[in-house]
């Protein structure tokens, strides 16, 4: 028995050695590697799944078309649970163990902010495609971290659009319900500033992002009757909030950034109880631009559901990286950084070009629920 065990171990070691040698030989045309720190576990794991799908689709499309500069492209996702400390650990592992050429930012702004110095120290480009905190681009580009590029418009840009629209809609009072993170607190702060007292803020509540029970807040809002309820929370949490909102028979529309674009709330919107609610998002899979329709169809065929905004963002980010690698002729970090800065990439919603803070100015979408369905009202330049 012991002999047999030795034999098995011996055979295993030999096989490993052969595999290793083969891998070393193959290093001649090594993959272009993208590292993605993102939530595989935790309350926003659902979004992490969409990030992975977005990356998968982009990578497969690029490889099917022959790869980039004769090389294949691949990606590795490491769990961050969307927490800054875990995200940093994930990125360190991706850089040191997986030797990735490019990092993508995390979903949660707090985590992405923590990743920025890691990318700078490693001297590797990082594309932020999802996090919207304004500090990210304030710290990037001229006079700061040249390695970080952001493709998504930030919260300040979105806040102006939100505040303008709320004033235009004639709301007199607003109550905010937000997640207790950089995203939630930042969003409420910027919109409140932009409202400039024209709409009275009657309350602001911040909840941990795993909270599912909104009875106390809804009870209070039922009494205070705000003209609008401003939301800065992510999909899963808002889906629970909306269920309880219906039970309370509330009438105030949800505004600001409720994720009405999410596949999770389609049934809830269909009840008609949310007609008049509106949201500002960088993306919606129901947008009827030709490029978007092609992307959405490919995504649905493969993953049996529509792409979430984070899937779209990741998909575009991977394509953007491939485009830059092609122009840089390889993955040399300095050349790649320059190529990214000079990007003029034809994206799904329009061209992606970076300003001197490495911030792209993609279009934003203002959407409203009409007769149980989300409709794009306006594309707004940012």
């Amino acid at each position: 028995m012991k002999k047999f065990a030795q034999l098995v171990i011996g055979a295993g070691l030999t096989a490993t050695a052969i595999a290793f040698a083969a891998a070393t030989c193959a290093a001649v045309a090594e993959d272009i590697k993208i590292g993605i720190p993102g939530p595989v576990t935790g309350p926003v794991a659902f979004l992490g799944q969409h990030v992975k799908w977005g990356a998968e689709l982009a990578v497969d499309e690029i490889n099917a078309a022959g790869g980039v500069a004769g090389r294949k492209i691949s990606f590795t996702m490491q769990d961050s649970a969307c927490r800054p400390a875990d995200s940093v650990a994930a990125a360190e592992k991706l850089l040191s163990a997986d030797k990735v050429d490019v990092l993508l930012g995390d979903i949660c702004s707090g985590a992405t902010l923590a990743l920025m110095p890691i990318a700078e120290r490693a001297g590797k480009p990082m594309i932020v495609a999802i996090s919207t905190h304004p500090d990210i681009s304030a710290k990037a580009g001229v006079g700061g971290n040249k390695w970080v590029f952001r493709t998504v418009p930030d919260d300040v840009l979105m806040s102006s659009v939100i505040a303008d629209h709320a004033i235009k809609q004639g709301a007199k009072t607003i109550a905010f319900v937000a997640e207790d993170t950089d995203y939630g607190r930042g969003g409420v702060k910027f919109v409140t500033e932009k409202l400039g007292g024209k709409v009275k803020v009657i309350s602001d509540d911040y909840l941990k992002n795993s909270e599912t029970d909104f009875l106390p807040i809804l009870t209070r809002l039922r009494s205070s009757k705000p003209d609008a309820i401003g939301i800065f929370m992510l999909d899963q949490q808002v889906s629970n909030f909306m269920k309880q909102y219906v039970q309370f028979g509330m009438a105030s529309p949800l505004v600001a950034r409720p994720p009405l674009v999410s596949g999770l709330v389609v049934d809830l919107l269909a009840t008609g109880k949310f007609d008049g609610s509106w949201t500002v998002y960088p993306y919606y899979d129901g947008y009827d631009g030709a490029k978007n329709v092609a992307f959405v169809n490919a995504f649905k065929a493969r993953f049996k559901q529509g792409p979430h905004y984070v899937a779209y963002s990741t998909y575009e980010a991977v394509k953007l990286v491939a485009d830059a690698v092609k122009r840089a002729g390889g993955t040399d970090p300095a050349a790649l950084q320059k190529a990214l800065a000079a990007s003029n990439f034809p994206g799904i919603l329009g061209p992606i070009k970076f300003d001197d803070h490495n911030q792209a100015h993609n279009n934003l979408m203002l959407m409203q629920v009409v007769k149980g369905k989300l409709k794009v009202q306006e594309l707004i330049g940012s």
Binding site: G42, A45, Y206, P216, T219, S239, N240, Q247, Q305
Partner: protein, 291 residues
């Protein structure tokens, strides 16, 4: 102060209190009888919810029928938990059971993630969007169902422990295991009974409470923390202590969140737990096991 607001907060508090009671009772039963802390508690609740969802949406059974099927399934899961984690650690220091059940919890959570994916799922019930308005106070359909189920199952549990031979043996084991063995009570068999019972109680909690919220693999984490708070405040292993603590906590949180802020509400349960640990480490009603 708005009377309707206060009334509604009180109603909410009681309704949420019954959620907490259902969550905590499985944990307190296992601790009370075996003196083992079950860290897989939240995952048992999660598993019950996913099972229910699967029966309902994949097999197309009615909510009530699915609920009835989940309970024997959870009893089997409880026996498995006893075999894997509770029996092997019965005579070991208490950390052994904590680590073993924690491992079971992690395995369950990731097994569910692999099987069902990370996208949140929903259990639709016919009571979901119904609410009853009495004198301006709202009573929510599914929450009323929970109150009914909680009262029934607590009374049934009490009756089982009080009036059946097995229940009597379980209470004896809670008081003194060595004495039990001296008079010929098989502790290993009681461990199986306790784990099965604790797991079925998680199944009841999952079936009743989970339709309120979206389902996702890590949903048990919050449940386990809240259950610990309830069990510690009520006295580890004290059944009625846990029920009273659950209702008190539900009310306190409701008023803290409704009159103060959401952050204050979260602080309530854990502040109460820390205060109790400082002032009366054995809980308000004491650690004396009276099931």
């Amino acid at each position: 102060m708005d009377g309707q607001l206060l009334g509604q907060l009180a109603v909410n508090g009681v309704m949420v209190g019954f959620d907490y009671a259902l969550w905590a009772v499985g944990l307190t039963v296992i601790f009370g009888i075996l003196q083992q802390v079950n860290f897989a508690h939240g995952e048992l609740y999660m598993l019950a919810a996913f099972l229910l969802q699967w029966l309902l949406n994949r097999l197309g059974l009615a909510y009530e029928a699915s609920f009835a099927l989940v309970l024997p399934a959870m009893a089997a899961v409880g026996l498995l938990l006893a075999k894997c984690a509770l029996l092997p650690t019965l005579r070991r220091p208490f950390e052994a059971a904590i680590l073993a059940t924690l491992a079971v919890g992690i395995i369950l959570q990731n097994a569910v993630r692999l099987t069902f994916g990370a996208s949140p799922l929903r259990i639709p019930t016919r009571y979901e969007f119904q609410s009853l308005e009495i004198f301006g106070l709202l009573f929510f359909g599914q929450r009323l169902v929970i109150v009914g189920i909680a009262l029934t199952s607590l009374l049934a549990l009490f009756g089982f422990l009080r009036f059946t031979p097995i229940g009597t043996a379980l209470r004896a084991a809670a008081q003194n295991k060595d004495a039990c063995q001296m008079v010929g009570i098989d502790i290993r068999r009681l461990t199986l009974w306790t784990a099965g019972l604790g797991s079925v109680l998680c199944g009841i909690a999952g079936g009743a409470v989970a339709p309120l919220y979206d389902l996702y693999p890590s949903m048990g984490t919050d449940v386990v923390f809240k259950s610990f708070a309830v069990v510690i405040i009520g006295g580890m292993g004290n059944l009625w202590g846990a029920v009273l603590a659950a209702l008190t906590l539900g009310l306190a949180e409701s008023f803290a969140g409704g009159l103060g802020s959401a952050a204050l509400r979260d602080a309530t349960s854990f502040t109460a737990m820390i205060l109790i640990l400082l002032i009366r480490p054995s809980g308000i009603f004491g650690r004396v096991v009276r099931l």
